[in-house]
């Protein structure tokens, strides 16, 4: 997955402020947290940056497919073991008699659940990583045996 430094390498590095950010590095960070899109950087449209522009679109493509908390499930890696579903503290708090003891969810308040053999995210606003006062919780990542869950 891309990081801010990698994105910065492909930006014009002129700190022109046309995107509304004070520096190109700030723009890279904003791009990674999905505050802005590549289109905000107008100098990138010039012919001399054409290659960089295409490369950037490629880099940020997976970021755009993620949920509001930046959660990405790599479906080809996930085998639906449900470790993340049972380990997620929000899931357990919202459904102690269902996913809390390893069983199927008994209500709709859970964030993660397994459907057709692959984990799916819903109720993203309940996630600890959502909103301004977010906590960088990583319990669904460390319990995944195949590294199928990622936050960007």
């Amino acid at each position: 997955m891309a990081n801010a430094m990698e994105i910065y390498q492909f930006l014009p590095k002129t700190n022109c402020k046309k995107c509304g950010k004070s520096t190109c590095m700030a723009f890279a960070v904003a791009l990674l947290s999905r505050e802005v899109t590549v289109e905000y950087c107008t100098p990138l449209k010039e012919t001399k940056f054409k290659k960089n522009y295409e490369k950037l679109l490629e880099i940020v493509a997976p970021v755009e497919g993620s949920t509001e908390t930046g959660l990405i499930v790599h479906e080809e890696k996930c085998f639906g073991c449900g470790n993340c579903v049972v380990a997620c503290p929000v899931n357990v708090a919202n459904d102690p008699q269902g996913v809390g003891i390893g069983r199927a969810p008994t209500n709709d308040k859970v964030i993660l659940q397994v459907e057709n053999g692959i984990v799916r995210a819903s109720n993203i606003q309940e996630c600890r990583r959502f909103g301004k006062n977010r906590i960088l919780c990583n319990l669904c990542i460390i319990t995944c045996p195949t590294e199928a869950i990622e936050f960007v």
Partner: protein
């Protein structure tokens, strides 16, 4: 089917965990969404990509002709073999045992070359065991020995053993439980266990167990291979402190020689703490077959029936196992039910199956059915037909069909074969 809070739950027959909390959405006769099942269960419930055809000598026929021809082959054979049944319901297994008695057949299943010895020790009461619900409610030290449940039984950790909260383990995996992996490679399960992964060289389980018994007895362990003794003592300390320990024994350690050593380890562990053992059975009803045959004959597998004046005579031993009867060419026909020996037996043994008339019964096409003289399609148990099965820990689970299709179940096919004979 279990009803809970207005939801209908079905049982998944993908592996021997028999998860009974699967939600299914059906439209018409198609299953559209399967919730809670892992990828293994999902592909089982979704059904076969290539369904079994109904064939006699390479020609498509109707099921009545196929059953008649199968009965003819088995009737004319002097020493037939019945093999498989790990993916059949207990009711079908009982019919297969009845058929074996009728035709003086050899009967065996996959446990004869995997976990037979462990199950035998458990059924004879030589090793302490418990149920998976006990594990969820009480276990604090969980050992996966030669097992990788993340791949073989994907929901094992999340449903029963490591992650869920239980009655006496309210903080679940975060504080109350310790998971240990002893394996020859860093498996997916070992990744979750972090520093509680003890890697040992190939074929050294027996030496490792001996050294561990020494460490548990307070002696200086005698390591016969290159291994850090500090690591071993760390493991022994964790095991000693267990309030309710459980060993999940996988395919990595199944040999009969290891079984004796394992029984000694279990004895030692129960002297110093409290330990149980559950074998990681793979096919959903392999343990069911072993228990059914045990009730009938006193043996788990590798049995040959012979009619006599008193009724029937039972012979048991290594000579009657599938590997031995194929290697020594003892059989002259075979009925394979819900299994694919052509793909997993060694070539030297499997080759003989090409020389004899073969009857294959099962829901999906496989290598064995492709070389079989007669193939009979059956309903996918747990999806198209109901029945009962025995979970890996010995708990009997009943299940209902999810959808109804016109195919006959294994039980009905076997009943009709018995009638035709």
């Amino acid at each position: 089917m279990v009803s809970c809070l207005n939801k209908n739950y079905y049982v998944c027959t993908g592996c021997a965990l028999l998860c009974d909390d699967i939600e299914v959405e059906v439209s018409g006769d198609q299953i559209t969404t399967i919730k809670t099942a892992c990828r293994k269960g999902f592909s089982r419930i979704r059904g076969c990509i290539e369904p079994m055809p109904c064939i006699v000598n390479g020609k498509n026929v109707d099921i009545n002709t196929a059953i008649k021809d199968a009965a003819k082959i088995l009737k004319n054979a002097d020493k037939p073999l019945i093999f498989g049944l790990g993916n059949s319901t207990s009711e079908a297994q009982k019919q297969a045992i009845k058929l074996a008695k009728r035709i003086d057949a050899f009967i065996d299943d996959t446990s004869s070359f995997c976990q037979g010895p462990t199950l035998e020790a458990i059924l004879h009461g030589k090793i302490r065991t418990c149920t998976l619900d006990d594990v969820r409610n009480r276990a604090d030290v969980i050992v996966y020995w030669g097992a990788d449940p993340s791949n073989s039984h994907p929901r094992h950790l999340s449903r029963y053993s490591y992650f869920p909260r239980g009655e006496e383990r309210q903080r679940g995996w975060e504080e109350d439980r310790t998971a240990i992996v002893i394996d020859v490679r860093k498996s997916h399960t070992a990744k979750i266990c972090g520093d509680k992964f003890f890697q040992i060289p190939l074929h050294t389980d027996a030496f490792f167990i001996d050294a561990l018994i020494d460490a548990l007895s307070g002696k200086v362990p005698n390591m016969l291979f290159d291994y850090d003794i500090k690591n071993l003592l760390k493991l022994a300390n964790i095991l000693k402190k267990a309030q309710f320990g459980i060993i999940f024994e996988g395919f990595g350690i199944y040999n009969i020689e290891y079984m004796e050593t394992m029984a000694r380890l279990m004895g030692k562990l129960n002297e110093v703490s409290n330990f149980h053992l559950i074998p990681m059975v793979e096919h959903y009803n392999m343990r069911g077959f072993n228990q059914n045959l045990f009730e009938e004959t006193g043996f788990l597998n590798r049995v040959k029936f012979k009619k006599c004046e008193k009724g029937f005579d039972v012979k048991y031993g290594v000579d009657y196992s599938i590997m031995e009867v194929l290697n020594t060419k003892k059989i002259d026909a075979a009925l394979i039910i819900g299994s694919d020996p052509m793909s997993y037996l060694p070539r030297s043994a499997a080759e003989y199956l090409l020389e004899i008339p073969l009857v294959s019964v099962g829901p999906c096409e496989n290598f064995t059915s492709r070389v079989a003289k007669v193939t009979i399609p059956s309903a996918l148990s747990g999806v198209e037909c109901g029945g009962s099965a025995v979970r890996m820990d010995g708990v009997k689970v009943r299940f209902e069909p999810i959808i109804k299709r016109a195919r006959l179940s294994d039980e009905e096919i076997l009943k009709r074969i018995i009638e035709a004979i």
